[in-house]
């Protein structure tokens, strides 16, 4: 049944990514050049609504939360590498798949590069595990754990911070 749920969530997610234009490398680069923050505001809104809804639901029903572990060096370095690739190609691992679906031929190259990148990571994993993933590891911690506050309270604060930033920042900058 979970496979069916996964397929359903993917179909809706693919349509949303396509509609907002996140599958367009041009939109991604406009965001990273700070010329058009549409995609960043879309993501911030998603997180703000998602966190409040998920932790409100959690008050009344069991949820399948799965928090990723914190290991500072690997997560930060991985993020920097990801960011560089994001700016060079203009795709993320999901948006290139949506790009293929809407007829973008360069999406195939991004997926191919991704398969090669994942393969290389598979080869070097045992070498980088000790220096990058084992040190400064604090387990699956959330801000609610760190702050010793109820998750719903932290979710509301997170949403408020994100939505305030969304409200205050201009969406588009007219090029000088």
């Amino acid at each position: 049944m979970n496979l069916v749920y996964g397929l359903f969530v993917g179909i809706v997610m693919g349509a949303l990514i396509q509609r907002v234009g996140a599958s367009s490398p041009r939109m991604i680069l406009a965001a990273l050049r700070l010329e058009d923050l549409t995609i960043i505001k879309f993501m911030a809104t998603t997180i703000a609504v998602g966190t409040v809804v998920a932790y409100t639901m959690n008050l009344g029903m069991p949820m399948h939360f799965d928090v990723k572990p914190t290991y500072v060096i690997g997560v930060a370095l991985g993020g920097l590498i990801f960011g560089a690739g994001f700016a060079i190609g203009g795709y993320c691992p999901g948006t290139c798949v949506v790009g293929i679906a809407e007829g973008r031929k360069d999406g195939w190259m991004a997926v191919l590069g991704g398969v090669v990148g994942a393969s290389v990571f598979t080869l070097v994993y045992s070498l980088i595990e000790a220096p990058l993933i084992k040190p400064m590891a604090y387990g699956k911690i959330t801000w609610a754990d760190v702050l010793h506050l109820p998750t719903i309270a932290v979710a509301v604060v997170m949403a408020a911070i994100l939505l305030t930033a969304v409200r205050l920042l201009p969406t588009r900058r007219t090029p000088a």
């Binding site: 879309f42 998920a54 939360f65 370095l77 560089a84 191919l112 911690i141 959330t142």
Partner: protein, 180 residues
């Protein structure tokens, strides 16, 4: 909570000016990501790449696949997340066909240095390589770490998101400066 009109559903927008489209789509995506956590687990994409590599290697060279610690750790390709990636193809295709709007270009050159389609393909390949290598090192990508992770208030995902935008904005600036 302070809830700007940007995040309210369409039905509650009678009096306020209509919210921008990205806000409506973002709110819908927020409900979808919460629904996913309720149904089976947080959304994610990048783990599917090594699971796919693992499935191929298990077919070609089962001894190697069984001995590789990362492929063993990632496990079978038959997961809801793989189905989600297949769903992205279906949803992206249907949406691009059903809704009116500018058709996606077959090749969109986004950097000044991409003077030919071939150079655009090289950038897409190199970008694809780096996002998957980086995502696997960090344990997730835009969907698994930034969207799902921050939705779950994860410390790791906040670090990842900050690093992605620092690296992304910095690299975008470097590429532009390089040509100028």
């Amino acid at each position: 909570m302070t809830n700007p009109s940007a995040a309210l559903p369409a039905a509650e927008q009678h009096t306020a000016p209509s919210p921008p489209r990205w806000a409506m789509l973002g709110a819908l995506f927020g409900f979808l990501s919460a629904a996913s956590i309720a149904l089976f687990g947080p959304i994610g994409v990048s783990g599917t790449y090594p699971r796919f590599v693992g499935a191929v290697l298990r077919a070609i060279t089962p001894e190697y696949a069984a001995a590789n610690p990362y492929l063993v750790k990632m496990g079978t390709v038959v997961t809801p997340e793989t189905m989600l990636v297949i769903g992205l193809l279906i949803g992206g295709f249907l949406s691009s066909r059903i809704f009116a709007g500018a058709k996606a270009p077959a090749v969109d050159r986004v950097h000044a240095r991409e003077t030919t389609d071939a150079r655009r393909y090289v950038d897409a390949f190199v970008g694809g390589f780096l996002i998957l290598f980086g995502a696997r090192l960090a344990g997730g990508c835009t969907s698994g770490h930034i969207i799902s992770g921050m939705t779950q208030l994860a410390v790791s995902s906040t670090i990842f998101a900050a690093a992605v935008f620092a690296g992304g904005i910095g690299t975008a600036k470097l590429i532009t400066a390089w040509r100028a």
